[in-house]
């Protein structure tokens, strides 16, 4: 094993070395524990980093400095935020459903962390290689809807229940096109195993699934749905602070609020990781000559790119209305995703020379036509002119 491979496999070697200290019957358990602890540690620190990046980035977009008081350039802001969250008073409303109010953040954070077990972070670096990895990811992800319901219902607050119902309606609507977009990859690689899906994209940028007609459209669909699934702008209606005063988060404070906040970021990173695994080659380097850079660095680099994209979109796009949200999911993304599955089937059954032109001929008119059609169904009121108050 040369040095490059050694660095590439460093986390795995470290784990083996640590496991070696324990008696044989404990070793599988210790190995599992170390994997879980590594996932929690790494992604929780990434969560802290991305909150800083978000506040700094949004600050830049809005022409203000962002956090700049704690530490050099405000770098220690996440630490200050964490301490603030921990020492805040934990308030439970008098008429709240105490058990549900308490259980909701726990029931949200556990599945958010559990989905990381099937994401291949690097070569041989996956906590649990499972024949049904993609299915496991979506099955566990689906259970977060219930915890949001528990939070909304348990708070005994009208804003909370409205916000949580909005959130669930949104998550159910966008889950469908998201899974349909993922199905194209399953169809082409004929595997649900995340490790095998990444291995199928070996050989540089042109082998990635995003470089096929169905892959590009599926990645776009998947990304839009990912924004909605993680309740991020422009789909952050559930926590619309001006009308619902943060929806299901209204009655939470202190550490419970911090857990909700963390679950949002963990969900965002997990779903980006899934997009990277399915469409962007996972831990593979874009060019074979760049293979000397460790595989996990490629994964985290792509993940950082996604997080920056999420922040950029949040700082750029205005929030959607509830009817626009539903129209986008059911009238636009769903038909496009269904058409795309057919095109993925064509890709499997025929050669690229036939599949490329047919896909372009079908997809471009479908996307443009459907977009025009939906725009036409919008209530017409002429151009809106804003009158400034005197």
């Amino acid at each position: 094993m040369n040095l490059v491979e050694r660095i590439d496999q460093a986390p795995l070697l470290l784990q083996r070395w640590a496991v070696g200290f324990f008696p044989a019957f404990l070793q599988p358990w210790v190995a599992m524990l170390i994997s879980a602890a590594a996932i929690i540690g790494v992604f929780a620190s990434l969560f802290a980093l991305s909150t800083l990046a978000e506040r700094k980035g949004l600050g830049r977009i809005q022409n203000r400095p962002g956090p700049n008081r704690v530490g050099p350039f405000g770098m220690l802001q996440p630490l200050a935020d964490g301490i603030k969250m921990l020492i805040k008073e934990d308030i439970v409303p008098l008429r709240a459903d105490k058990v549900l109010h308490f259980l909701a953040p726990i029931a949200l954070i556990v599945p958010s962390l559990l989905v990381y077990s099937v994401l291949p972070i690097g070569r041989n670096l996956v906590a649990m290689q499972c024949q049904l990895g993609v299915l496991l990811f979506f099955a566990i992800g689906a259970s977060t809807e219930l915890s949001i319901f528990m939070a909304g219902w348990g708070s005994h607050n009208k804003y909370s229940i409205l916000g949580s119902i909005r959130a669930i309606a949104q998550m159910i609507s966008y889950e469908l096109p998201m899974v349909l977009a993922a199905i194209t990859v399953i169809l082409v690689t004929s595997s649900l195993d995340t490790v095998k899906i990444v291995e199928a994209q070996a050989g540089g940028f042109w082998a990635w699934h995003v470089c096929t007609p169905w892959g590009a459209i599926a990645l776009l669909t998947f990304f839009i749905c990912a924004l909605a699934e993680s309740n991020r702008a422009p789909f952050d209606l559930p926590e619309a602070e001006s009308e619902l005063i943060a929806g299901h988060l209204t009655e939470y404070s202190g550490f419970k609020y911090a857990l909700f906040f963390m679950a949002e970021y963990l969900g965002m990173m997990a779903i980006s990781g899934m997009a990277i695994t399915l469409f962007l080659g996972g831990w593979q380097a874009p060019l074979p000559m760049l293979d000397f850079i460790p595989s996990w660095l490629w994964f985290f680099g792509k993940l950082a790119g996604f997080v920056v994209l999420f922040i950029w979109i949040r700082g750029t796009l205005p929030r959607l209305r509830a009817d626009q949200l539903m129209n986008l999911a059911w009238k636009f993304l769903l038909p496009i995703a269904l058409l795309n599955i057919g095109l993925a089937g064509l890709w499997v059954k025929s050669s690229a020379w036939i599949a490329w032109p047919v896909s372009i001929l079908l997809l471009v008119p479908a996307v443009i036509g459907l977009g025009r059609l939906l725009r036409g169904s919008r209530p017409r009121g002429g151009k809106r002119i804003y009158q400034y108050a005197d």
């Binding site: 049904l132 299915l135 099955a139 566990i140 689906a142 809807e145 219930l146 669930i168 889950e175």
Partner: protein
């Protein structure tokens, strides 16, 4: 009987009992979701990964949410339960349905002969996919189930839709 099985089975039984005996309908719905979750875990424990994960995805992710939405949309969930359930007209209908379904399940169980040998067959996901989509009767079953789900969804919509007569609207 192993310890994991005992834990999972007791969670299934306790949550199923709670789902039919609690007063608050939302709590009942959440307990039903816990039952689905524990059943999925039981499948996973029995090495039926595909079944277990589909159980989680469909029942915990969709059916439980559907139940909770139906509860919220059709009647006030805090309404106290009727103190004399046997005098409600729906009681006897419910009892009839319970006896019919229970009888059908019991008949099916009585007719079931356990296969010889102790090891379960190892099925890969590809084989399950081929079995589901290649044979005509399985495809027919899939389509029928899909139609049934659509009918249930339309029924829920009809229950929740505002009535035509009154301007006030509201369920029921």
């Amino acid at each position: 009987m192993s310890i994991p099985f005992l834990i999972i089975a007791s969670v299934i039984l306790a949550s199923a009992w709670a789902a039919v005996s609690l007063r608050n309908l939302v709590h009942c719905g959440l307990c039903a979701a816990l039952t689905f979750l524990a059943t999925g875990t039981l499948y996973l424990y029995l090495n039926a990964e595909f079944l277990g994960l589909v159980q989680l995805m469909v029942y915990v992710g969709a059916v439980a949410v559907l139940i909770l939405f139906t509860v919220l949309l059709t009647r006030p969930a805090t309404e106290a339960a009727d103190p004399r359930p046997t005098q409600r007209p729906t009681f006897w209908k419910g009892a009839l349905i319970a006896i019919t379904v229970g009888g059908a399940v019991a008949a099916g169980l009585a007719a079931y002969v356990a296969p010889k040998g102790s090891s379960a067959p190892q099925l890969s996901i590809q084989e399950i996919g081929r079995l589901l989509t290649a044979s005509p009767q399985n495809v027919l079953a899939l389509i029928i189930v899909a139609l049934l789900m659509t009918a249930a969804l339309i029924g829920a919509l009809l229950l929740a839709a505002p009535s035509e007569e009154g301007p006030k609207g509201g369920g029921e």
